[in-house]
Amino acid sequence: MSGQRTRLRPRFDAPRIDMSHGAGGKATHKLIEGLLLPALENTALAPLSDAAVIPCGDARLALTTDSFVVRPLLFPGGSIGELAVNGTVNDLAVSGATPLALSAALIVEEGLSTEVLEREVGAMATAAERAGVAVAAGDTKVVERGRADGMYITTTGIGVADPELELSAAAVRPGDKILCSGTLGDHGTAILIARGDLELEADLLSDTRPLIPLVEALKGAAGPGLRFMRDPTRGGAGTVLNELARDSGLGVVIWEERIPVREIVHGACEILGIDPLYVANEGKLLAVVAPECADAALEALRGVEGGEEAEVIGEIREEPARMVVMHTGFGGTRMIDMLVGDPLPRIC
């Protein structure tokens, strides 16, 4: 045995892939760490961050890719085309990289109306312009009717990593503050309501948006005090905080009453028996900053569109190591574990 192993890898022993392997929680982690990573092992992939960092001369390139299979294609507040651009741009942004260009691969089902395809490509163009990035390469495949649900999109993004920033869970220290850029659970809940299975009606929009302005604001306010950033998409904030606790080896403590959640999301989640902490977001970020920068960072976030409802939701402690604990609004405490199972399939 050679090399340094920071933790034991789970063995992937499921005989078949089921829906929970795509949910972004524990089962997804097992699939990645137990099957994909061992097969593809390399230094760029190994940290399993939102974007890989690849040295290129004096610069460091950031590379990320994401597939979008959301159903329905059009939902309140956005659509698959907009999501496909924002999702990849955001993975670059929270890695501290400036996006350079995107590629897009479309898998289109036979029979899709040209109008829908035009609408979605238009949405991609608008989102790319808003993020200040070009879709510089693409591919199109058509599959038989019934083999894809309208269309799927895969986007890949390349960016330049900021030489000043060292963002990682390992950079996090006890006493650091955890910031959340706004209300949690909007995207997943909006999709669920849009599907109509629940016969719930609510005035709720997906939060899909590029995070670049929020990231720039944080960088400006916290500088090197900015330690860690993630956008809590599939698996939600609960899963990101667990990854942070696990990868830093430290404890994460959060306060329920400080976590921003819209009343409408709170209500829908209560009815469904799910926790907004595990519901996907597409326009929010979680950041860890040094305690002395926390006030400035919060103020900077709140000054940017999409960050008005930012809050300091918790802090890093020595104990309980590798765990996430929440002080409930009711005055008790409880543990927050990683998402198990898949309450809301195909939300992105």
Binding site: R16, V325, T328, F330, G331, G332, R334, M335, D337
Partner: protein, 373 residues
């Protein structure tokens, strides 16, 4: 949903907790069972134990319908789901319950047409939309969900939907509580009565608890302040030497219950002579089957389920935990061979199961408190 926030007010909680503490005899140990899994979930989710004096122990009862389902019934459901003509429908909780050869999620990945629904009416709609398929609804739950199954079957009969049937696993709450009270290894001081079940059956069915067994019972709602108030009402009864059924959840539960729902149930269901409960064994007249007038919709008859009994895995101690004899973390496989991702026992599956609630919410807190003591 502003409504729920009022019942999660930390200031009110502190006031109620202080009153509970003032009624607690420091030299006495109190064991209070919350019968319902919904209560177990609330207790862990909001950390209610942190607000109680250490003399008060909450014991988690058998009121999680997924948890008490024996493995044989899970296997029979899976066998129906595997039939090529069948669209098998169930609540989300059922998908991960382990049968002896896997769960419904795995069967779905192998090609079975299994769909999650939020209501039996959704299953009936699927039957109407797919006239060339057979739609089966896996009905589980106490008296809480039984009326919706009953109404769905009444509608199916009225509309003459032929390709719809129900695999009925509805159970009654009173027989297992009585069985627990008869169990020699269990010493309880009082019960927190189930709220949702009581919206249907009312409070009267619990009168045997004080009358025959001398145990107070307070029917409670599902917000954390409801549960805290119910504990306070119990502590008042114990301090004042009273012993009766009280209704904390009067904003929803009436003394007589929901007569229309009870009438529907009486038309569609009849009592089974006995039914197997996980961990508790066979209990007489503890479950419902579909009545002869609706037998056409009975999946047990349509698919001739053999009624096989399957023993739980040997290492699994769900039974002891269900009876409150063991705490979840005292089970020998808790958190090792049995976790929410790979549950051995049903208590680890449902979010209302004591073990899953404890694993997801309480584990760390208990360890920390344990270390301090």
């Amino acid at each position: 949903m502003k409504y729920s926030r009022e019942f999660r007010n930390a200031e009110l909680a502190r006031a109620v907790a202080a009153e509970i503490a003032s009624l607690t005899d420091p030299g006495r140990h109190y064991k209070i069972m919350e019968v319902c899994g919904g209560h177990t979930h609330t207790i862990y989710r909001h950390g209610i134990k942190d607000l109680l004096p250490e003399q008060i122990e909450l014991v988690h009862g058998p009121g999680c319908p997924v948890c008490v389902l024996p493995m044989g019934r899970v296997d029979e459901g899976i066998r129906i789901a595997e039939r090529p003509e069948v669209i098998f429908t169930c609540f989300g909780d059922m998908m991960r319950v382990p049968g002896s050869k896997g769960n419904l999620i795995e069967m779905k990945a192998q090609g079975a047409d299994i769909r999650m629904v939020y209501s039996p009416l959704d299953a009936l709609r699927l039957a109407r939309e797919n006239p060339d398929r057979e739609v089966v609804f896996y009905a589980i739950g106490f008296e809480t969900t039984a009326p919706s199954t009953a109404l769905t079957l009444q509608r199916a009969k009225k509309e003459g939907v032929e390709n719809f049937s129900v695999f009925c696993n509805h159970v009654n709450i009173v027989p297992p509580v009585r069985a627990l009270l008869d169990s020699p290894d269990l010493r309880l001081d009082a019960f927190i009565g189930p709220g949702h079940v009581s919206t249907v059956i009312g409070c009267r069915p619990y009168e045997f608890m004080p009358a025959d067994y001398g145990k107070p019972c307070v029917v409670a709602g599902f917000e954390p302040l409801d549960i805290l108030q119910a504990i306070l009402m119990i502590m008042r009864q114990l301090a004042e030497g009273r012993c009766e059924v009280e209704n904390q959840y009067s904003r929803v539960v009436s003394w007589e219950g929901n007569l229309a729902a009870l009438r529907s149930m009486a038309e569609v269901f009849e009592l089974r002579p006995y039914f197997e409960w996980r961990g508790l064994g066979f209990i007489a007249q503890s479950a419902l089957k579909i009545s002869p007038a609706y037998s056409h919709f009975d999946a047990e008859l349509r698919y001739a389920t053999p009624g096989v009994r399957v023993a739980d895995p040997k290492a699994c101690q769900c039974g002891e935990v269900l009876k409150g004899v063991l705490k979840p973390h005292e089970c020998r496989v808790f958190g090792t061979a049995c976790t929410p991702e790979h549950p051995l026992g049903a208590l680890m599956v449902s979010s209302e199961g004591a073990c899953a609630a404890y694993y997801n919410f309480g584990r760390k807190v208990e360890e920390r408190v344990g270390a301090e003591r």
